[in-house]
Structure formats: structure tokens, C-alpha cells
């Protein structure tokens, strides 16, 4: 049976939250070690787990894509695997020569020529001078530098420098290759060459660990995935499952941010100007701004007090719906004055685009002559919203067919997430909003 080339067993790493705590604990730990006391690995005040009990193993030829939002522990894991950080708990076992493609061009000296830097950088990456000499022509050819190899690196364009750095790193043949976000270098042809080189290494049995925010890069190289969140391995397995989990997590994070617009940036809980637009009167009623340019406003004839997204199957409030699931929205209204020919209208914003869907009662063939004062609940069911996975925001308003302005408007009244489907891999474009089922036919022209 083939031995695992990478075994990570219960690895944890903690850091101080502030420079002050890092200094304090650094000195305490140093003194403890100097007097021969074992380090206490429990979490102390002012510390957090950057990586918490992560385990996995990889066989030769496996490619693992490590995904997670910023601060999830990806880089910490890669640095532990690279020997930069020592784990606080657990154990890492690596079998074979390790190549690190963590920063193409690390250690380049701008005063020296490309040729001189090839020898320096190659040595820093663990190649012997003989090996560098043997592969020198291959490196220069891969970097497409030609005669420029004898020019000082400081005169290189950024693309030339990165190409050379990448070429030095990938021309070696490591048994384990650690890659951190450096595949997107150079022009399209060079990137294609980089991918081909990575795949060649993989076919030859190199175990690859790739950290990237790009689902496309992960998916094209890796067959396995690891999704980290707050230092914990939330999803491990097939790369497509991990890309889905990463994308859904991004959407949930975007929703959390969208749901807290009123919190001031300093985190003190102070309500900002937008939220302070509504002022409660002595009866506890909401007094609205009577002009545009606010989050919520209107003339007070009617107010929408809540907007909720419900599960179409159970009717319970939900934060997210599955891709392809009907979208059920519930509105609660307080009508204070008789509404004549009212129109209820909502729009949906995607992350990158506004008003991608408009839900208008009149457009949908629903009309009322008038609505009397009172409290009302309205549900709107969108049977097939066709929305791709992502975070969406709902805006809502009340208008009248006979009046050219809104009776009430509320921007970002609610938000929801459309989760990735299990049976389909929607990876192509995170800015696209709608999924349109279609058929493809291909025939050769004679």
C-alpha cells in the first residue's frame, strides 16, 4: 500500500489578538521554555485558535485545494506545512522533498541580473548548484525571458519578474508542492503553461496543496478540498463540495454584513445615521422621513413593519433557500389611511447589481381598488426565481397607480442566501445572477 505523503493529525495553532498580548505571552513562553517547563497549550485570555484540530492525509498525486475566507487559517496551515510556524498541538508528517511556491520571486535581489537571481532563488528553494545549472536553460525558456536573463531584475516588468520566480519554483521536481495564490501570473499563455506544469507534476506523483480564493483555480487543479472556517475544517472531501461550501459561506458572510448596516464601523454598537432616520414618537409609532435618500421613508399612510423570507415548504422563516427552490416572501403592513389603487412592489439586488428582479403587484395582474386602514399580511411566492447561488437583498415599497411618488419605501428590508445545489456545480462566474437552463449542440463544419 502506498504511504501517505502528507499526514496532518489534529494540528492547532494559536496567536495573540494584540501586539501587547503577543509580547506578554511571548516573554512568558520564552521564560517557561528556558527554565525547562513544558508549554501550556490551553488558550489564554487575548489568544485565539488560528487553526484548531485540523486533520487530513494525502497520497502521492493527490491535489488538495484549501479554501476559506480571510482569517480562516489557510495561510497558517500552509506555513505550518512549510515549517515556518511550529504547531501548538498535533503533528505534521511530510514524506519527500518539499517545494514551496508561496511567493514567486522571493529573495530576488533587484541589483543582480536574472541569471544571478536564478542561482540565488534556486538555492533558496532547496536546489543544489549542479541542479540549477542543469535546469538553467529550461528555467529561462519557461520564463520566456531570452536575452533579458542578463539584465538586472530591477529593470524587469512585474510580469517578467513573476514569470522568472514561478519558473524557478516549478522547474524543480518536489514530491510535495505547497502553492499559495500564485497561479494567476503572466498572460493567458503563461498561465496555461503554469497549469500544464502543475498537472504534469501531479501526474508524476507530486502531492499538491493549493491555497486560493479562486474556485476556478482550485477546481482546475485539485480533486480534493478542505474548507476552513475560523481555523476549523468544516468540509473535507470532493473539491466540488468544498467549493460549494466556500461559496455558500461567502454568501452567508455577505448577508451578515448586509444585515448589520446600522452598526457603526467601530463596533461599539452605536446606531449610525441611516438607522437613526426613524424616530419613535410618544406613542411608540414610527415617524418616517418624508423624502427620498434614506433607508426608509414615506408619507405615513402605510408602513411595512417587517419583511421575511419563508421556507416555501414549511412556512418557517429562513436565512437561505436552496437553488431552484421557490422564494416565499412575507410582508406585514400597517395601513394608517385609506390606500386607493395601491401597488405593492419589491425589487431584489444581487451583490454586484441592483434591481435584478422587480416584483410588482400590478405587473403580476393583481389589483385592488382600495385598502382600508388596518394591519395586513401579504405573501408573495416566486415559483422559479432562477437565481444563482449568492446573497440577495430585498427592497420593498408601496405606491399608488394615481400618485407618481411612493407612499412608503424601504431599501435593504431583508436579505437571503441562495445555496449551491447538490446536483449541479455552478462555478463559472460569481457575478452572474440568473441560471438559464439550456441545451448545447456541437457539430463539425465540413
Amino acid at each position: 500500500m502506498t504511504q501517505s505523503s502528507v499526514v496532518v493529525e489534529g494540528v492547532s495553532k494559536k496567536f495573540g489578538l494584540s501586539l501587547k498580548s503577543a509580547l506578554k505571552y511571548g516573554l512568558v513562553d520564552s521564560c517557561s521554555r528556558l527554565i525547562g517547563r513544558d508549554r501550556d497549550h490551553a488558550l489564554r485570555p487575548g489568544e485565539f485558535w488560528a487553526l484548531n484540530d485540523v486533520s487530513f492525509s494525502l497520497q502521492p498525486g493527490d491535489a488538495l485545494g484549501i479554501m476559506g475566507v480571510n482569517g480562516s487559517g489557510k495561510t497558517t496551515l500552509l506555513r505550518i506545512l512549510n515549517g515556518t510556524y511550529s504547531p501548538d498541538k498535533g503533528r505534521v508528517t511530510l514524506r519527500g522533498r518539499i517545494g514551496a511556491l508561496i511567493a514567486a520571486g522571493a529573495g530576488f535581489s533587484p541589483m543582480l541580473s536574472g541569471r544571478e537571481n536564478v542561482f540565488i532563488s534556486g538555492t533558496l528553494l532547496g536546489m543544489s548548484p549542479r541542479e540549477i545549472r542543469k535546469r538553467f536553460d529550461e528555467i529561462v525558456a519557461f520564463a520566456e525571458l531570452g536575452d533579458f536573463i542578463d539584465m538586472p531584475v530591477r529593470n524587469y516588468s512585474s510580469g517578467m519578474g513573476v514569470r522568472l520566480g514561478f519558473a524557478i519554483a516549478v522547474i524543480g521536481t518536489p514530491e510535495i508542492l505547497l502553492v499559495d495564490e500564485v497561479l494567476a501570473v503572466g498572460d493567458l499563455n503563461f498561465q496555461k503553461k503554469c497549469y500544464e506544469r502543475i498537472h504534469k507534476l501531479k501526474r508524476e506523483g507530486t502531492t499538491i496543496l493549493l491555497v486560493s480564493h479562486s474556485p476556478g483555480a482550485i477546481w482546475s487543479v485539485c480533486d480534493l478540498g478542505l474548507f476552513l472556517d475560523h481555523g476549523q475544517a468544516l468540509v473535507q472531501g470532493a473539491v466540488e463540495d468544498v467549493v460549494r461550501a466556500y461559496s455558500d459561506q461567502n454568501s452567508r458572510n455577505a448577508k451578515s454584513s448586509a444585515d448589520q448596516p446600522a452598526l457603526a464601523a467601530n463596533g461599539s454598537g452605536r446606531r449610525d445615521e441611516a438607522a437613526a432616520e426613524e424616530i419613535l414618537d410618544s406613542n411608540g409609532s414610527v415617524t418616517l422621513k418624508s423624502d427620498y435618500g434614506h433607508t426608509r421613508g414615506g408619507n405615513g399612510d402605510a408602513v411595512c413593519s417587517s419583511v421575511r423570507v419563508l421556507s416555501a415548504s414549511t412556512g418557517a422563516p429562513v436565512e437561505s433557500i436552496q437553488f431552484g427552490e421557490p422564494l416565499l416572501i412575507e410582508y406585514r403592513y400597517q395601513v394608517n389611511a385609506r390606500l386607493v389603487f395601491p401597488i405593492f412592489r419589491s425589487s431584489i439586488d444581487a451583490v454586484h447589481y441592483k434591481f435584478v428582479i422587480s416584483l410588482d403587484s400590478y405587473e403580476q395582474g393583481v389589483a385592488w381598488d382600495a385598502i382600508e386602514p388596518g394591519e395586513y399580511v401579504m405573501r408573495v411566492l416566486v415559483k422559479d426565481p432562477a437565481l444563482r447561488p449568492g446573497m440577495y437583498r430585498l427592497n420593498t415599497s408601496i405606491a399608488s397607480r394615481q400618485v407618481g411618488v411612493h407612499t412608503f419605501y424601504w431599501l435593504s428590508a431583508a436579505s437571503f442566501v441562495v445555496n449551491h445545489p447538490r446536483d449541479r456545480f455552478l462555478y463559472s462566474n460569481d457575478q452572474a445572477v440568473f441560471f438559464a437552463p439550456c441545451s448545447f449542440t456541437l457539430r463539425e463544419l465540413k
Binding site: 504511504q3 496567536f15 503577543a22 509580547l23 511571548g26 516573554l27 513562553d29 520564552s30 521554555r33 528556558l34 513544558d38 508549554r39 497549550h41 506555513r79 505550518i80 506545512l81 512549510n82 515549517g83 515556518t84 510556524y85 511550529s86 504547531p87 501548538d88 498541538k89 498535533g90 503533528r91 505534521v92 508528517t93 511530510l94 514524506r95 519527500g96 522533498r97 518539499i98 514551496a100 508561496i102 511567493a103 522571493a106 529573495g107 535581489s109 541589483m111 543582480l112 544571478e116 542561482f119 540565488i120 538555492t123 533558496l124 528553494l125 532547496g126 543544489s128 548548484p129 514530491e175
Partner: protein, 288 residues
């Protein structure tokens, strides 16, 4: 921990507190790290050396002038009569140049090793080079500086009409204890200094004070104050400066036995410095 398994494959293991060996283990590990990184050390030295002198008017001659410029202020004070270091057998110009060159090995080695990790932070974060190799790679520049300073000293010997003794050829060996002492302090500072950033400047200030109780720019016999004389006598670094200087300039020296004893002590200090370095080195990267 790195080893070769039964299939001949290199195996690397990372786990907490893996470098808790004793002084002997530290020496062995230090040797292994430097031996395995010899190409890296050589390349880094070559890179820094070339980059240092390329595109400068004085180019490589700067290295020759540099030791002279270091003693200009003392010579000025001496020739205008402000500095009265006392009369010795060695011409003062030679005395202060040789003394300060020998002394310079201590802060030079300390600064090179202690700053080595900070200066190579980029490589620590992105490559797998042993940290010890990065810390000591800067020492290569110091060794080069020692050889260059021999040329400068030769010129000053000729100018003063003094013929150096054969001990002059052993100059690199004679200043080795100073380099080792600086290395030992630098190893500790390279790790502790990255945790508490003010330790290195504090040590530099302390070293500047120690220089004044070391007969670098004055003659020991001219000190009348008993307390200061006692301090100088008990200062082991005094012997690391005085003895090599006397051997080079006069061919004889007092207190050679103490010099040898202190030299042995510097080797022990390097071993202790290495032990502390390995105990704490993994804390460095987290604080760069």
C-alpha cells in the same frame, strides 16, 4: 525533525516543542543546519556582497576605507590633545586602529546575527531554510570585513614604520573569540529581540558602555582610578582586545592564559546561545 526512512525517502515531522534537546544536541543540530544550508549561506553572502558594492563610486575600495573612518574621530581627539590615552609601546594610531578593529568584531558579529532573522524575514516566511542559516549568513560579511581590515591595518603599519609580527597572519584566529562572543549574544537577541523589540537597542547601548571599561582607545596602565582599574581587570573582554593587539604589534603579551580561558568561555557561550536559539526559534516567525 528530519530523517530518512527505510525506503530512502526524506521525512519531515513538525510537532510542538520538538527542539527541546540539550546543549550538545543544539551544537549537533547547529552543525547539521549550517552544513545542509552551506549553499544558501554562500549564495546569500555573495548576493549581499555584490549588491552592496555594485553601482557605488568607491565600489570595493569602500570596504578598505571603512575601518579607517571608524577611528577618525578618536585620532582627531588625540591629535588636538583632548584625548590623552597614555603612552604605550605601540604608536597610538596603530593602537587605536587595531584595538577598535578587534573590538568591532563584537558588535559586528552581534549585530549581524541578531539582525539576520529580521533582515531575512521574507525568506523565513516563504522558504524552508533553517533559521540558524539565515541568522549566521550575515556573519559571512563580517568574515569578509575582517580580511579587508587586515589590508587596512597593513597600510597603517607601513605608514607608522612598524613591522607587524608574524602573529598578524593569525589575526582572524585571534579575533575569533570576539566573533564567538558576539555570535552567542546575537543568537539570543535574534530570538528574544523579535519578541521584545527593545532588547537589541538596549544591548547595543550596554555594549557601548562596556567599551569604555575595555582598553580599546586608551592604555590600561594609565588608568589611576582603582575602581575603574578593577573593572577593567575583571572585564574578560579586556583580554580579548589587549592580548591579540599586543601579539600583533609587539609579538608578546601578558595574560595569555586568561585570554585562552576567556576564549574557551566564548565557545561555551555559543553553545548556550544555540540552545536558547533552538528553544525559542519557532516563536520568531510568529512575530515577524
Amino acid at each position: 525533525m528530519r530523517y530518512i526512512d527505510k525506503d530512502g525517502m526524506a521525512v519531515t515531522v513538525y510537532q510542538p516543542n520538538e527542539r527541546q534537546g540539550g546543549v550538545v544536541w543544539s551544537l549537533h543540530q547547529g552543525y547539521q543546519d549550517i552544513a545542509s544550508s552551506r549553499h544558501v549561506i554562500a549564495r546569500l553572502f555573495w548576493r549581499d556582497f555584490i549588491a552592496q558594492f555594485r553601482q557605488k563610486i568607491l565600489g570595493y575600495f569602500w570596504a578598505l576605507l571603512s575601518p579607517l573612518l571608524g577611528v577618525v574621530s578618536f585620532l582627531f581627539l588625540f591629535f588636538v590633545g583632548v584625548l590623552q590615552p597614555g603612552q604605550g609601546e605601540i604608536p597610538y594610531t596603530l593602537y587605536v586602529l587595531v584595538g577598535s578593529t578587534i573590538w568591532g568584531c563584537l558588535p559586528g558579529a552581534m549585530g549581524a546575527v541578531s539582525g539576520g532573522l529580521q533582515a531575512q524575514a521574507d525568506l523565513i516566511m516563504r522558504t524552508r531554510i533553517p533559521k540558524l542559516a539565515l541568522a549566521v549568513s550575515s556573519l559571512a560579511g563580517l568574515i569578509y570585513g575582517i580580511l579587508i581590515s587586515m589590508i587596512t591595518m597593513t597600510i597603517i603599519f607601513v605608514v607608522n614604520g612598524v613591522t607587524p609580527t608574524w602573529w598578524f597572519l593569525a589575526y582572524p584566529l585571534l579575533v575569533l573569540p570576539m566573533v564567538l562572543l558576539g555570535t552567542a549574544i546575537g543568537l539570543v537577541l535574534s530570538v528574544l529581540g523579535s519578541i521584545a523589540r527593545d532588547l537589541t537597542p538596549m544591548t547595543n547601548q550596554l555594549l557601548a558602555l562596556v567599551m569604555y571599561i575595555t582598553p580599546v582607545i586608551y592604555v590600561h596602565s594609565t588608568i589611576k582610578n582603582v575602581f575603574v582599574r578593577t573593572l577593567i581587570d575583571w572585564n574578560p573582554i579586556s583580554y580579548l582586545v589587549d592580548v591579540p593587539r599586543a601579539l600583533i604589534c609587539l609579538g608578546r603579551a601578558d595574560n595569555v592564559d586568561i585570554y585562552l580561558l576567556v576564549s574557551a568561555g566564548t565557545i561555551a557561550l555559543v553553545a548556550i546561545g544555540l540552545r536558547i536559539f533552538y528553544l525559542l526559534e519557532d516563536l520568531v516567525a510568529e512575530r515577524l
